[in-house]
């Protein structure tokens, strides 16, 4: 007895030929380009329009900025992954500062961490890069920075290197050769979570983070 | 963008069945507008209907039989002008598909390439220049769906109206929304069609225009029917007649 798979494929293969098909002209995807400065300004404009908070900062200055942003929100702990560079920078910058936030690590499996992950008031992650056209962050979760860091806590702070900004999604994917190896989960994040399901009125903070703060690191 | 021919010495005129039976004066106005440009108008008496009503109702064979009779009436390689975007669309866009594999396929394809909606022809082929001799009036324009979306005729009618110095053209709020005629749709889904034409009539009245001008008699019959039923002060007229009366 043939399987559903066999039946479906057989029926598809018995069908009319497609005839002449239009070719795929990707030039409309290739053409969109901006200068480095324009890309940053565009990302800021696109993301701000959907309630993202963005700040330009430096490699030296971002840990203090993070502390300041959390203090403004009366948040006293920050969840990060096990990215050593981040851990070192934050611990280094905040060491000895009495009012600095508590650093919590998402360093075990979800099953062991879940209560804490869901209770964390804020999380910080790096990003792989960004996309200027749509105002999007490229986030590839991995062992060091698990998926839920950018999803569960109500505040997500993301570090974006200014020189990792692509023009468009298509160009990013092509330039970086994504088809040669995607992680189990790859994400584009373009703002805090939102909905317009109630009379098409836009409200922020549905199931994902209520706030997305992007720190653009220049130099 | 369609490639338009040079102004010809002669054209065929295909009146369309709605014009023939309900708005013959619009047909005559169209003919006169063409003749005024020095173009001879040939009117094959054997013409009847483009076949669209049957085609849209799932009766393709009947549509083809009637369409075949029309195709044979326009053998000369000259333009065929229609005072209807809807019927022009049928001939231009659907005749090739209707006659695929048929003995008349080549003739039908040839015909489809020579079909023009009246305002499109007046603007792009005849290059008419209009001088308004009429009294000041406020009008609004309703373009049929097929005129706009099958024939790509959107600005031509309005550009003709804008040439008339004493005509104030006010746009409808929902200019591109269907009036609800849709041929047999108006009797197959009468409640929805009625809702659509009611809204269109309201939109027209809100412009405070004295007249609604259209290039399609199906829409005209639908819209003026609704306006008359509610004793509206607004009347309707085919664009050919409107232009002719003001520029005679």
């Amino acid at each position: 007895m043939s399987s559903a798979r066999d039946n479906i494929l057989a029926r598809l293969r018995k069908s009319d030929p497609s005839g002449d098909l239009p070719g795929s002209d990707f030039s409309v995807m290739e053409e969109k380009t901006w200068t480095a400065e324009e890309k940053i300004e565009r990302l800021i404009a696109m993301m701000s329009a959907v309630n993202t908070e963005l700040h330009k900062t430096t490699e030296a200055g971002w840990p203090d900025l993070v502390a300041e942003l959390l203090k403004q929100r009366e948040i006293d702990s920050l969840l990060i992954g096990t990215n050593n560079r981040l851990m070192d920078r934050l611990q280094g910058a905040w060491h000895g500062k009495g009012d600095a936030p508590d650093i919590r690590l998402y360093d075990r499996s979800y099953e062991d961490e879940r209560a804490e992950v869901f209770a964390a008031p804020a999380a910080l992650t790096t990003t792989r890069g960004g996309i200027a056209e749509t105002g999007s962050l490229i986030v590839w979760p991995d062992a060091a920075e698990p998926r839920l860091l950018s999803l569960a806590p109500p505040v997500h702070i993301a570090l974006l290197e200014a020189d990792r900004l692509h023009n468009t999604f298509w160009q990013a994917m092509m330039a970086e050769g994504w088809k040669n190896g995607l992680p189990t989960n790859a994400l584009l994040i373009s703002g805090p979570s939102k909905t317009a399901d109630i009379e098409q009125e836009l409200t922020y903070g549905v199931h994902g983070p209520k706030e997305l703060i992007v720190l653009i690191i220049e130099g | 963008m369609r490639a338009y021919p040079q102004k010809p010495d002669a054209v065929y005129f295909f009146g369309t069945c709605l014009v023939d039976l309900f708005y013959p004066e619009a047909g005559m106005a169209g003919i006169e507008l063409l003749e005024r440009e020095g173009i001879k108008v040939i009117f094959p008496q054997g013409q009847s209907c483009c076949g669209q009503p049957a085609f849209n109702s799932g009766h393709r064979d009947e549509a083809r039989a009637v369409a075949a009779a029309q195709v044979k009436l326009f053998p000369k390689d000259i333009p065929v002008v229609l005072p209807s975007g809807s019927c022009a669309g049928m001939m231009r866009k659907h005749y090739p598909e209707l006659f695929e594999g048929h003995a008349l396929e080549a003739a039908a394809v040839n015909l489809s390439e020579r079909v023009f909606e009246l305002t499109e022809f007046l603007v792009h082929v005849a290059g008419v220049k209009l001088e308004d001799k009429g009294e000041p009036v406020r009008v609004t324009w309703h373009g049929s769906c097929h005129s706009q979306r099958e024939m790509g005729v959107r600005d031509e009618p309005k550009s003709l109206l804008k040439q008339l110095g004493n005509v104030e053209l006010v746009e409808l709020q929902r200019e591109t929304e269907c009036c609800g005629f849709g041929g047999t749709f108006s009797v197959k889904q009468p409640e929805i069609s009625a809702a659509m034409v009611t809204d269109k009539a309201q939109d027209i009245e809100r412009t405070e225009a004295k007249k609604v001008v259209s290039g399609d008699c199906g829409c005209l019959m639908n819209i003026t029917g609704a306006l008359e039923k509610k004793n509206s002060a607004v009347s309707g007229q085919h664009i050919a007649q409107f232009i002719l009366e003001r520029t005679r």
Partner: protein, 477 residues
């Protein structure tokens, strides 16, 4: 299913037309969506080129569909995702049940999936003691109301805030009545956060399934999709076999067309690309991921090259947003799962002409949908094809229950019409009769009765154009 009831589209539409609140809700919503989309595609050149690319991508994928499905299965499997095939919704439901039972799953949280609506999955699971909870806010509202979605992108578009507030008051413990959208959203967030945390399984649809890499792509704004596909230990994805794209590079053009056409957004909050369950080094993500590929009539639609065009759809909803009929009657009047123009071509093909053969005629063929379809589906052409099938006059019928609306009366009417119009002599005779006596037909006569309910009777002219042209002496050839 609530909303307008009635056996035919015409009956349901008639009821909807009388519902002032519904009409106002839809008018407002559609106007907004149309305006937002127009702003996104202000550059006409970019729009035409991008939709041309989108059309080519969808048609290319469909032309290779069996091969791509095999490639998709192979790559998904290599990525650790288990692939299942289902010919019918019954089979698909049984597969889902089997997977859930194996894990002793009692609660499933759901992201938005129109395919799961085709399956009537929630009811099915409910009958088998498994709770399926919608987590997309619009679906959550609709589920709460015991209804089905009335729009494929904005399921609760038919409800205004008062109606939603009343629902929340009735169904959410501790909810203080408010019509403020922010506060209602916050209440839903709190409720559903608990559900994500506790759920045994998450279920999602798929926007694009990439054959080249074995990747499932999900588009969303709220975050519930990510929650459903990340938190529970089990993730089940369901999709139609038509959602496959060939290459990863095909995705960004379609994604751009989708979000801009659907809600006028340049991008959605999240674009979620899943290429496997939790890996050996990941700390979170589901341990098991399954994909169910559903046929449910798609292979039949695929068989004919013309009807195959219906499968290009990327489910953006732009067609219904621009449809003058949909705007006035809303989604429930269509009766099937998919409303609007795409529904008018899919539902009769999936569920048969017998029950839904009237849908293709519920269109004035205005082509507004054709104008905005981001993948250039020739919707009007397929509607006319389905009218041929319904009337039993298709030269190569292929649709389910083709000919089910064949009517001797209709056949006679059109035979008569043909006779009257194909012979110049017959036409001359009949038009002569009509000009003399047509105006005597009473307004209450069949067909005229419907017309004259809101319009005055059409008036036959005294002389036809043929006569006037002859009198003027116009050349005949």
């Amino acid at each position: 299913m609530s909303g307008p009831s009635g056996d035919t589209f015409r009956e349901r539409a008639g009821l909807a037309l009388k519902d002032g609140e519904l009409r106002a809700n839809f008018r407002r919503a559609m106007d907004g969506l149309m305006g937002k989309r127009a702003a996104q595609f202000a550059d006409a050149d970019e729009w035409q080129r991008l939709r041309g690319l989108g059309e080519s991508i969808r048609r290319r994928a469909l032309s290779k569909l069996p091969d791509l499905l095999e490639q998709l299965e192979e790559n998904l499997t290599n990525n650790g995702i288990t692939v299942h095939w289902a010919e019918t919704v019954e089979d698909a439901n049984q597969i889902v049940l089997g997977i859930l039972r194996e894990k002793n799953a009692k609660t499933v949280v759901k992201g938005k999936s129109m395919v799961s609506e085709e399956m009537h999955l929630n009811d099915f699971l409910g009958r088998h003691g498994i709770r399926a909870l919608e987590a997309d806010l619009g679906e959550y509202i609709v589920q709460m109301a015991g209804e089905t979605p009335s729009h494929i992108i904005m399921p609760a578009i038919h409800k205004n805030r008062k109606q939603i507030a009343r629902l929340f008051k009735d169904r959410i413990d501790g909810f203080t009545y408010t019509e403020d959208a922010k506060e209602m959203t916050a209440a839903a967030r709190a409720e559903l956060r608990r559900e994500f945390y506790e759920a045994d399984a998450g279920l999602s649809g798929v926007n694009f399934a990439v054959a080249e890499t074995g990747t499932l792509c999900l588009v969303e704004n709220e975050g519930n999709g990510r929650m459903c596909t990340t938190v529970p230990p089990l993730h089940i994805a369901v999709t139609g076999i038509d959602k496959v794209v060939e290459k990863l590079e095909d995705v960004p053009p379609l994604f751009s067309l989708l979000t801009r056409s659907a809600t006028g957004q340049p991008v959605t909050t999240y674009f979620n690309m899943i290429s496997g369950p939790r890996s050996a080094t990941d700390r979170d993500g589901p341990e098991e991921v399954h994909l169910i590929l559903l046929d449910n009539g798609r292979t039949r639609i695929y068989a004919d090259a013309e009807t195959r065009r219906s499968l290009q759809c990327i489910r953006c909803g732009a067609c219904m947003n621009h449809c003058p009929v949909y705007t006035r009657v809303g989604g429930h009047a269509y009766g099937g799962i998919y409303p609007g123009p795409i529904g008018k071509i899919l539902t009769p093909q999936i569920d048969g002409i017998g029950q839904y053969g009237d849908l293709p005629s519920a269109s004035s063929l205005c082509n507004a949908c054709v104008e905005v379809c981001p993948v250039k589906i020739p919707i009007a052409q397929v509607l006319v094809r389905l009218r041929d099938e319904a009337a039993g006059h298709c030269s190569r019928p292929s649709v389910k229950e083709s000919g089910a609306k064949k009517s001797t009366v209709q056949d006679m009417v059109w035979s008569g019409w043909k006779w009257m119009h194909e012979s110049p002599g017959a036409y001359k005779f009949m038009s002569g009769v009509l000009t003399k006596t047509g105006n005597l037909t009473p307004a209450a006569a069949p067909l005229l009765k419907e017309w004259t309910s809101v319009r005055s009777k059409p008036k036959f002219a005294k002389k036809t154009l043929h006569q006037l042209a002859k009198e003027k002496g116009l050349a005949d050839e």
